[in-house]
């Protein structure tokens, strides 16, 4: 393609000044109000690493306790808190958030976007993560940490005497973080689908973006079952609803299902982003495009898909029927194949290229060597007969650390060494990197390899001490020594990152000669790309001549910020055709207020301070409404603008073309999954009991059917409201919305009236409890819908929701589709299903 024309020097200087002003990072205390992906990404990454170091110290304490038999360095109670928190923090506060952090930082530059579509949501997610994480970690200093193991099996974890407040801290603190994770997933999915540079069709996306799309999709289906489980769990702890109490019809196994339906995909949610980093590093060091792009994408999709069908292999010892063990055994073996394909894609790429070796490759290859051992032991434990021996022993401890440290930590450190120049303009030290690698690699294997043997010799996991003479003594001593060597290696990495580097000369851009778009970013400018280029290749920096120079000269799209607004391009999902120019949110306090207020809701709930909970919930709602009112669906001062290269794009789009619609859609898919998990619970109880209702009264047919009718009628009215609005009648729209509002309120109350009038006592048996949960879930969604309708009415009266500017009504109607499915399912299940018994 012929290079686009260049603007005169002084025009470019003026453009650059305007861009710089618009994207400027605030200084002083206002620095923390920044929402730009560059700042938020760095904070997020640093915080995740800090939590990791904290959990690492806990691990060292535990290894010290276990160095010799019958040790009393730690008390049993502290040890139990320490291992619970170690697992919890590593999983929920390091492994998953780390991927979100890196994605927030890297995704926009890789896609050629100026920022993610909802930067304030990223900031909200970060602050939520920080608050929730500090709350969970801090608990151990008050001897109040969760102590029932990171998978929190009831009835141990529902026992208030045993777990005290710790279990509530786990449930509520992590629910809060899970909400933030889902927010991040929504952001990343929409960003990947809608904010790519023009011309970057899906089959040209960097592999990192593909992996993120898959992983974010997995989060959307994996986290909601856990949130549903948390809800049931907390209702049992707070109000004695017997979901997991066998004496009243509950079943502790339901928690195990819900937890592992989350927990197994979680492993791949952790592993795939690390592979994604490798998929960026390997082509750079082989100096050639990846071999088998479609192979690796398909394999990643396959892994993500299969990972949802494996969860029962964590439950092989619970006495489930052999036939289901056989099925899940086979599925667990099957997932090896797509994983193997991904590894061989890397090896094949290296073989087909000329390899330059460097510290990132060292960590990558070392991680692979460790991960493959974890994979091979995984093949072993996926076989039920082997697992019956290995389950819950140190063999599993070894296996999971080989998988997670080889499959996540080493690639992340590789990514740190690889991407550091992008952040700082300087490289980390080769020499320190090599020292760190060998300490970590040797220390890791010395620490964890002997655990295979101690496990096979019968040492159960989660023991605070062990008697001497069982053949475990010297194995444990070796493990402890290895753990300290490993920790020393990681400290070298920390030192390398933190040491002052101002005397080191700044590097040229793209120091590794990589092929992907992120390397054309200027580290000392906050605007991302100087102009958004037109993409013609998977490796544009290799294939498109003078791409960096042309981009820097502002020859491509959006080289200016004439109106003083932060802008990026929204393109179509498959072909990345430009659709509109989006104005993204600037620095703001409202996400911070919302995050702190929501954090206060969860913390107050932990201590059962009801007034504080209500006040914080009110503040949260206020902050979110203010944020939405001032920062979304803004009506532009002109319908469109010239974005360069002779292209004029609109500034406002609604419905499926807009990013907000997609965000609502994706959020509601996650919400629907949580609801589906509750419905699964209803039918689970039905299958395990002869008489599921235990003779207690149901909600009847009349009231559930009346509620169902109200919700369906409200939905029809909402469709009418959207149609009437499109035809120009503001008054008709307001009337329809008002009627829908009344019907929703009536429907919610009617739905609740059914179980109430039949005297269903949720503490008596699990049947009334699960009915109440479904009905209340629907009513709460009805209430959220009512808030949305009031918001629409207010927007309409304020002139912010009109025929031409109808984002709000489109998004609310979309919510209504999901609400209607929820309501119809709920009332059909609770009202009609008992008739079929």
């Amino acid at each position: 393609m012929k290079p686009p024309p260049i603007a005169p020097e002084e025009v470019r200087r003026a453009q650059e000044k305007r861009l710089r002003d618009v994207w400027e990072t605030p200084s002083g205390w206002r620095y923390w109000t920044s929402v730009n992906n560059t700042q938020v990404g760095v904070w997020y990454t640093a915080t995740a690493f800090a939590f990791m170091l904290f959990a690492g110290v806990l691990a060292l304490l535990m290894r010290t306790q276990l160095a010799v038999p019958d040790n009393d360095f730690l008390s049993a109670d502290f040890f139990n808190q320490a291992f619970t928190l170690h697992g919890t923090v590593m999983m929920f506060l390091f492994a998953v958030p780390m991927f979100e952090a890196v994605a927030i930082y890297l995704l926009p530059p890789m896609l050629g976007a100026r920022d993610l579509p909802f930067p304030r949501l990223s900031a909200f997610g970060f602050w939520s993560f920080l608050i929730g994480g500090a709350f969970v970690c801090g608990s151990i200093f008050f001897d109040a940490a969760p102590n029932a193991g990171w998978f929190m099996y009831p009835p141990l974890a529902t026992d208030k005497q045993y777990s005290g407040i710790g279990a509530d801290i786990w449930l509520l603190g992590l629910s809060f973080i899970e909400v933030a994770s889902i927010a991040a997933a929504v952001e990343l999915i929409v960003g990947t689908m809608k904010c790519r540079a023009p011309g970057m069709r899906v089959n040209m996306m960097p592999l990192f973006a593909w992996y993120l799309l898959i992983v974010a999709g997995m989060i959307l289906f994996a986290f909601p079952p856990l949130i549903a489980g948390d809800l049931l769990f907390e209702l049992e702890r707070m109000f004695d609803w017997p979901f997991f109490d066998a004496a009243r019809g509950g079943d502790p196994i339901l928690w195990q299902h819900l937890f592992w339906i989350f927990g197994h995909p979680e492993v791949y949610i952790i592993f795939l982003p690390a592979i994604a980093l490798m998929a960026m590093i390997v082509p750079t060091f082989a100096q050639r495009p990846i071999v088998g792009y479609s192979w690796i994408v398909l394999a990643a999709v396959g892994t993500g898909f299969l990972s949802f069908g494996l969860w029962v292999h964590h439950m092989f010892a619970t006495g489930l029927p052999q036939i289901s063990l056989a099925f899940f055994s086979a599925a667990s073996e099957a997932v090896v194949i797509p994983t193997g394909v991904q590894i061989f894609v890397f090896i094949a790429t290296l073989l087909a290229g000329r390899v330059i070796f460097g510290v990132p490759m060292l960590f990558g290859a070392g991680g692979l060597a460790i991960f493959i051992i974890g994979g091979l032991t995984g093949v072993m434990v996926a076989l039920a007969p082997f697992d019956w021996q290995a389950h819950d022993t140190y063999f599993i401890v070894a296996h999971l650390h080989y998988v997670l440290i080889g499959g996540m930590l080493f690639p992340v450190v590789a990514g740190l060494y690889y991407f550091y120049p992008l952040v700082d303009g300087r490289k980390l030290s080769d020499r320190l990197g090599k020292i760190a690698f060998w300490l970590m690699f040797v220390g890791f294997n010395v620490a964890f390899f002997p655990m295979h043997l101690s496990g096979l010799r019968g040492m159960p996991r989660r023991v605070f001490t062990y008697p001497e003479g069982l053949g475990w003594d010297w194995l444990n001593l070796i493990s402890t020594i290895g753990a300290y060597v490993f920790a020393a290696g990681f400290l070298v990495v920390v030192f390398d990152v933190l040491r002052p580097k101002s005397r080191q000369p700044a590097l040229e851009r793209n120091p590794w000669n990589a092929g992907t778009l992120e390397w054309i970013n200027e580290p000392d400018e906050n605007w991302g790309v100087r102009s958004i280029p037109l993409i013609e290749s998977r490796y544009p920096a290799w294939d498109q001549q003078d791409l960096i120079r042309h981009t820097d000269e502002g020859r491509f799209y959006l080289p200016d910020a004439e109106e003083g607004r932060r802008e990026t391009l929204v393109t179509s999902v498959l072909d990345a055709e430009p659709i509109y120019c989006m104005r993204v949110g600037g620095n703001a306090v409202s996400p911070i207020v919302a995050a702190f207020a929501l954090g206060a809701v969860f913390i107050a709930l932990t201590f059962e301070w009801w007034v504080a909970t209500a006040v914080s919930a009110f503040v949260t709602l206020g902050a979110i409404l203010f944020w939405a009112w001032t920062g979304t669906a803004e009506i532009p001062e002109k319908p469109g603008k010239d974005i360069g290269l002779g292209l004029t794009l609109p500034l406002y789009r609604s419905g499926p073309e807009s990013v907000g619609w997609w965000a609502m859609f994706i959020t509601m898919v996650g919400d629907g999954t949580a609801f589906g998990s509750l419905v699964f619970g209803y039918f689970f109880y039905w299958t395990i009991h002869e008489d599921f209702t235990a003779g207690t009264a149901g909600p009847g047919v009349l009231w559930p059917m009346a509620a169902l009718a109200c919700f369906v009628a409200a939905w029809l009215l909402m469709l009418a409201a959207r149609g009437v609005n499109a035809r120009g009648s503001a008054i008709g729209m307001r009337l329809a919305v008002g009627a829908a509002l009344v019907l929703t309120a009536v429907g919610s109350l009617t739905g609740l009236y059914g179980p109430w009038v039949h005297g269903m006592d949720p503490t008596a048996h699990v049947y009334p409890a699960i009915v109440w949960v479904l009905v209340a879930w629907t009513a709460v969604h009805g209430a959220v819908g009512i808030v949305m309708l009031l918001y629409c009415l207010a927007r309409s009266f304020a002139g912010k929701l009109t025929t031409a500017h109808d984002i709000d009504i489109h998004n609310v109607v979309l919510f209504w589709h999901f609400l209607t499915v929820t309501a119809v399912t709920t009332f059909a299940v609770v009202g009609l299903f008992p008739l079929a018994l």
Binding site: Q322, G340, F344, A352, A365, L368, P385, W388, T465
Partner: protein
């Protein structure tokens, strides 16, 4: 399996190291694609298919697919409690016999275990005899085991069950069938030491509220049955030797030895009384 694993690992890592060498032939994209196909997909699929087939073929032998047709001669009911094991033998002929924290088995015979829990989830495992099975409140799990040779083994609790999870184990004694039957008959009877001195202190200090000693008025069912505690391999669920000193220390400070244990401490009793009770219990052979 370990050897095959080591070979696979060596092959993959060897290729990886070769790939990173500077002086070597650059492979064509076609050859690289073939490597992905064979190394990543076809060979693993074949190997895993074989391995899975073998495992599925093994499974019915280790654990029956459905309820077994052949009735086991002996059934042993084991209930996990924080942090000990309630054991009840159901011989094919004769009434059930209660015991605790130790399981005796006849060699060469199939024994069926019914596994339950009264509080939280525990897991029952005798590593040398077979795989583990969880004990879940509200559910009854079945497991059959056949010991091939005599000996004394250890079984730990393998599902985290609370503060003293690490201190919950039991001993397994596999005996010749005749010796086992004699032992079980003795176990069903009161110990010859049941009427010995010290018994009155055991009764007077409230121990019968929780413990049973057959042949005396102690019939409590909250804690472990102590009818033959002196003949067991270990004390306090696999954590101490059975001697007078250990018994006395457990009576005076159970919570220090086993944090979170339900048993109240009796350290306020005169030392002489504790010693007498300990000697009495040690004599319950």
């Amino acid at each position: 399996m370990a050897i095959a694993g080591a070979l696979i690992w060596a092959a993959v890592i060897g290729t990886l190291i070769y790939a990173t060498r500077e002086r070597r032939r650059v492979q064509s994209e076609h050859a690289a694609g073939l490597l992905i196909l064979w190394g990543g997909a076809i060979i693993p699929a074949l190997l895993l298919g074989l391995l899975l087939g073998y495992a599925l073929w093994l499974m019915p032998d280790i654990r029956p697919w459905s309820a077994p047709g052949e009735p086991a001669g002996l059934r042993i009911e084991v209930e996990g409690e924080q942090f000990w094991w309630r054991v009840r033998y159901h011989p094919a002929d004769g009434p059930p016999v209660d015991a605790a924290n130790e399981i005796r088995l006849p060699v060469g015979e199939r024994v069926e275990f019914t596994l339950t829990s009264s509080d939280v989830i525990h897991s029952f495992w005798i590593p040398v005899l077979g795989g583990k099975m969880d004990m879940i409140p509200g559910r009854t799990n079945r497991l059959t085991l056949r010991a091939a040779k005599t000996g004394t083994y250890r079984g730990p609790c393998t599902e985290f069950c609370g503060t003293s999870h690490a201190l919950m184990a039991f001993s397994v004694v596999v005996m010749e069938p005749d010796a086992f039957r004699d032992w079980l008959a003795d176990e069903a009877r009161p110990s010859p030491g049941a009427g010995a001195p010290g018994g009155e202190l055991f009764i007077a200090n409230g121990c019968p509220a929780c413990h049973t000693v057959r042949g005396t008025e102690a019939t409590g069912a909250v804690g472990p049955d102590l009818s033959h505690v002196g003949s067991r391999e270990t004390l306090a669920a696999g954590i101490m030797p059975v001697d007078v000193e250990a018994i006395a220390s457990f009576i005076s400070k159970p919570d220090a030895i086993k944090p979170g244990a339900q048993m109240p401490a009796f350290g306020m009793l005169p030392e002489a009384d504790i010693a007498a009770i300990a000697a009495y219990l040690e004599g319950l052979k």
